[in-house]
């Protein structure tokens, strides 16, 4: 049974939200992913992932302060919910189980 639906990109975003803890808003998340993973992230992809996860309940958000640099628009900070954390852990656990279940042969084949 599919308990948590969490895509690959979503997972990265969710993890980053966790890493940044209370400083996780659009630009910061984007910068963090870009520096750690060395991959380009478009605002569109990031934002839609965040909103999707918000409707799924993995993150929650609240409005922050507005700055002149942002054209007077407020930042929106995202926080990981415990449900989101459970989803991440479930993902990790599933992977770990899969790793463990993998017979050595596969590894050998890979080396041969």
């Amino acid at each position: 049974m599919k308990k948590y639906q969490l895509g690959e990109f979503e997972e990265i975003v969710l993890l980053t939200v966790g890493v940044l803890y209370d400083q996780a808003y659009g630009v910061a998340i984007k910068a963090d992913i870009e520096s750690r993973l060395e991959r380009k992230v478009s605002v569109g992809a990031l934002q839609s992932a965040l909103r999707r996860m918000e409707t799924k309940g993995f993150v929650e958000s609240k409005s922050g302060e507005a700055t002149a640099k942002r054209g007077g628009k407020p930042k929106r900070f995202f926080y990981m919910t415990s449900f989101g954390r459970a989803a991440l852990e479930y993902n990790r656990q599933v992977r770990a189980e899969l790793w463990n279940a993998m017979p050595d042969m596969t590894i050998e084949m890979k080396f041969s």
């Binding site: 659009g26 839609s48 054209g71 628009k73 930042k75």
Partner: protein, 878 residues
């Protein structure tokens, strides 16, 4: 710039909840890039485009302003199903509304066009025409559109509110010679150098407009004339020779825009009035042949100004007792529709016609709206159950009203589409009907399109509101129990509206007949002259230098024409029959028959002709004799018409023959011996009485009438053309038959007749469509009653008579309303004509018959459809 566009795009599609922070993020990123280069802006735009994702865009239904979109969808569906289900009802309504809307708006365009005359000058609201009233014993007599030449400048000096004036003169025609071509200009005027200050036409070439008409022998051309004369050459500085009157070369000093249709004073060429300054000076305060326009200071109170306006004798230096003429001011914007003075520069429009058309158009629209009200309340019974169910499941009254209004909107919208198509297909016919290029292209006419939607909107509310209230006020329990009947009040209203429709149809039909009758009367009535196969034309005038030579030439020309067997008579005159009101000279001075009558004031019209004129147009003498070329004394002879003598109170015509007639109170002025009395004849439109006219002997008059032999008139025409060309090679020949000239005079009335005939027909068609639908519903509603009657032994004629009884009452009621209305309006219209038909009651009867017959046929058809049904069918289900 690009960033701004990008931001706007984002705002337009982004989900409103997410927008602020996403926009904030984007701004921050953009700001971090720290330059405003185009590259950065494009990157920004690219980000915005990539943001267009399902998760982030604005939802379509949720979050919109209405949360009852679902309900509207349902209304739409139900309305649509109803339209489809009741095809006859929908088609009748849509066609009716479309006809109503397009007719209404096309007439509206015409009305606006007529009302837009002379409003395009920047100061048009301050422009006034100075006109001259003849005041006899304190009462205003003849009102003349012209004025004395010196009055304009004198008024500017004397009255501070009058800040500028211009003096203009309208030529009958000018014959121009451009390079080696001769052209005849029928719309030519002269004006002084102030002209363009008052009438600020756009000047296309020639520099300072205030200088262009300063020098004598200057000429200003309209754009199209300049093109016609000089093609692609620069017209300014070119020479044009004016043959008629001047025989002088003029210099083109400017080119102006073409004079639009919407002005009462149209012209194609404009010459400086200083070119004939001596004539103007000579006319002075003696004769008024000029149009003077005044410009008033801003914010002048016109009534106050009229109150303190100088009397004419104060300026002209006459004794007060000598003068019977007074100034009058006339707003230029009002001239086209409201002025009916003598010597107008062109045939004017009529405010009454415009009003009349306006009323017809509103009536057509109302008829169409009434159809909707009638039909939708009549078929309320079909919708009653739906209303009951809706109410039972919780719809409130407001929602139901909105629903039915929505339906009315849909119907009107469909009608708009059809109306636009109709208007597009028929506008050229409409233009033809009113005789003016009023509508050019519906698709490009934004105002028309805006209006059509606006009126559809108004119509939807006006005609939709009552049915919406009726339908929404059904009581749930009554309706659902199936004991529902149309309310007595509703039936009464419907009958009232039908009466309105009948009356309107009746009035319009009768009006059509009356107008038609009058126009036919004017064309066929004996005008006192015999015009069949009589040709009228003008020939060149003479100048003082070649007077005698030209006289001989004219005489030879006449003899040469008469030599041909197909030419019966040739006459010279200065005023062709069938011309405008202003095609004749007049004097406002006093007149008397010496020893027989007292001096009497009043306008006397004057014409000049030779001895051939009376025979050529068949004017009958009732006493005395014609002019005689052999008698030298006839140069001081005069022939008058009956009206002239009637005004002087002379009844015994023989007794005044050979007496002397004196013009003016000065007894050593000219006196003329009365040698003949001619029968009255209509010189111009039958709107006007035959004018008191005196005719003088003159062989120089520059109009020619030629009577041709009917059997060989074509040979005569050929001979005429050939002879003319050999005698006057420089002036183009233009002739027309006199009866055609008269028919042109009636064209306006005929047009009016055609317009109201067309629109009356439309109104009647729309009304009968409505009646058709209504009687169908009524017949079906009473199907059971009919069935029972048949079972009990009623015959079809008996059933018909029951249905007819109601309609007879309605028709009787509408004739009670309609007949007085038609008598009142149309008798008033007929009174515009000095020679009119008696009020044609028989045609009112005929219109009543037409309305009655159409009602009987439609009602009868619907009733019989129900009545022939087998009662077992109609009574089967209960």
């Amino acid at each position: 710039m690009i960033k701004k566009i990008a931001d706007r795009i984002l705002k337009s599609y982004c989900h409103p909840d997410y927008y602020p922070d996403i926009q904030g993020d984007l701004d921050e990123l953009y700001f971090d890039r720290k330059n405003n280069s185009t590259v950065a802006q494009f990157r920004h735009l690219f980000e915005v485009i990539k943001l267009f994702r399902p998760a982030l865009i604005r939802p379509f239904y949720k979050n919109s302003l209405y949360n009852s979109t679902g309900m509207f969808k349902n209304y739409f569906k139900i309305s649509f199903r109803n339209l489809i289900k009741q095809k006859a009802f929908s088609i009748i309504n849509i066609i009716g509304l479309a006809v109503g809307l397009s007719a209404f708006l096309m007439i509206n365009q015409y009305v606006m066009f007529e009302k837009s005359y002379d409003r395009f000058f920047s100061d048009s609201d301050r422009l006034y025409r100075l006109t001259t009233d003849q005041v006899l014993d304190g009462a205003i007599g003849t009102r003349d559109a012209m004025s004395f030449a010196p009055s304009g400048p004198a008024l500017v000096d004397r009255v501070p509110e009058v800040i500028n004036s211009t003096l203009t003169y309208q030529f009958n025609e000018l014959v121009l010679r451009v390079e080696d071509r001769s052209v005849k200009e029928t719309k030519a005027i002269a004006a002084d150098s102030n002209y363009f200050d008052l009438f600020d036409y756009k000047i296309l070439a020639g520099g300072d407009p205030n200088q262009m008409l300063k020098e004598p022998f200057s000429i200003v051309l309209t754009e199209s004339r300049a093109k016609a004369y000089f093609g692609d050459q620069d017209p300014v500085g070119q020479a044009i020779k004016i043959l008629s009157g001047f025989n002088q070369s003029f210099k083109v000093t400017g080119v102006m825009q073409d004079v639009p249709e919407q002005t009462h004073y149209k012209f194609d060429v404009l010459v400086s009035i200083s070119s004939f300054q001596e004539d103007v000076d000579e006319d002075g305060w003696n004769s008024f042949n000029y149009y003077t326009y005044l410009k008033l200071a801003p914010n002048t109170d016109i009534d106050e100004l009229r109150g303190k306006f100088p009397r004419m004798f104060e300026l002209s230096g006459e004794e007060e007792s000598d003068s019977n003429l007074e100034f009058n001011l006339q707003k230029v914007e009002d001239i086209h529709l409201y002025s009916d003075f003598t010597y107008e520069p062109e045939a004017h429009g009529s405010a009454n016609t415009v009003l009349f058309l306006n009323i017809i158009s509103i009536l057509i629209l109302i008829i169409a709206w009434v159809n909707y009200i009638n039909l939708s309340t009549a078929k309320a019974i079909d919708r009653a159950r739906e209303v009951g169910v809706r109410k039972a499941i919780g719809a409130n009254k407001m929602q139901l009203i909105i629903q039915f209004l929505f339906e009315s909107f849909m119907l009107n919208l469909l009608a708009v589409v059809l109306a636009i198509v109709m208007a597009q297909l028929s506008y050229s016919y409409f233009n033809h009907l009113v005789g003016k290029e009023v509508i050019e292209n519906i698709w490009l006419n934004q105002l028309f399109l805006v209006k059509i939607f606006a009126f559809a909107f108004i119509g939807a509310i006006v005609s939709g509101l009552y049915p919406a209230f009726v339908l929404s006020s059904f009581r749930t329990v009554v309706v659902l129990k199936g004991r529902f009947r149309n309310s007595a009040k509703g039936i009464l209203l419907r009958k009232g509206l039908v009466v309105v429709q009948f009356s309107v149809s009746l009035v319009l039909l009768a009006a059509t007949f009356v107008v038609n009758r009058q126009v036919n009367f004017m064309q066929s009535v004996d005008k006192g002259i015999d015009m069949d196969f009589v040709v009228g034309m003008s020939r060149p005038g003479y100048s003082s230098g070649n007077r005698e030579a030209m006289r001989i030439k004219f005489e030879q020309f006449k003899q040469r024409l008469l030599d041909h067997h197909a030419v019966e008579n040739v006459g010279f005159t200065n005023s062709l029959p069938g011309g405008d009101l202003s095609d004749i000279s007049s004097t406002t001075g006093e007149v008397q028959i010496i020893g027989k009558t007292d001096l009497m004031e009043g306008t006397t019209y004057m014409q000049w002709c030779d001895d051939g004129y009376f025979d050529a147009v068949g004017i009958r003498m009732i006493a005395g004799r014609n002019f005689d070329a052999e008698m030298v004394s006839d140069s001081a002879a005069i022939i008058v018409n009956e009206s002239f003598l009637k005004r002087l109170g002379v009844n015994d015509y023989e007794s005044v023959l050979n007496e002397k007639i004196q013009f003016g109170e000065n007894d050593d002025g000219h006196k003329y011996r009365l040698i003949g009395i001619m029968k009255d004849y209509n010189r111009t439109s039958l709107k006007n009485r035959v004018e008191p006219t005196s005719t003088f002997y003159n062989t120089y008059a520059n109009r020619v009438v030629v009577r041709l032999t009917p059997s060989s008139y074509q040979e005569g025409l050929a001979h005429l053309e050939e002879t003319y060309k050999s005698y006057f090679p420089n002036t183009p020949l233009e002739y027309d038959f006199l009866d055609e000239r008269f028919n042109n005079l009636f064209q306006e009335d005929q047009q009016f007749g055609n317009v109201i005939a067309t629109f009356s027909l439309l109104a009647v068609i729309v009304a009968s469509l409505g009646l058709f639908g209504l009687s169908a519903f009524m017949a079906i509603n009473r199907a059971k009653e009919v069935g029972i009657r048949k079972v009990l032994g009623a015959t079809i004629p008996q059933i018909l008579s029951i249905f007819y009884r109601e309609f007879i009452i309605l028709i009787a009621l509408s004739s009670l309303i309609g007949i007085p209305l038609v008598y009142y309006t149309m008798d008033g219209w007929l009174n515009n004509y000095a020679y009119r038909v008696d009020f044609p009651w028989i045609f009112v009867g005929a219109s009543l018959l037409v309305v009655g017959a159409s009602a009987f046929i439609t009602v009868g058809y619907q009733t019989i459809r129900v009545a022939v049904k087998n009662p077992s069918e109609t009574l089967r289900c209960e």
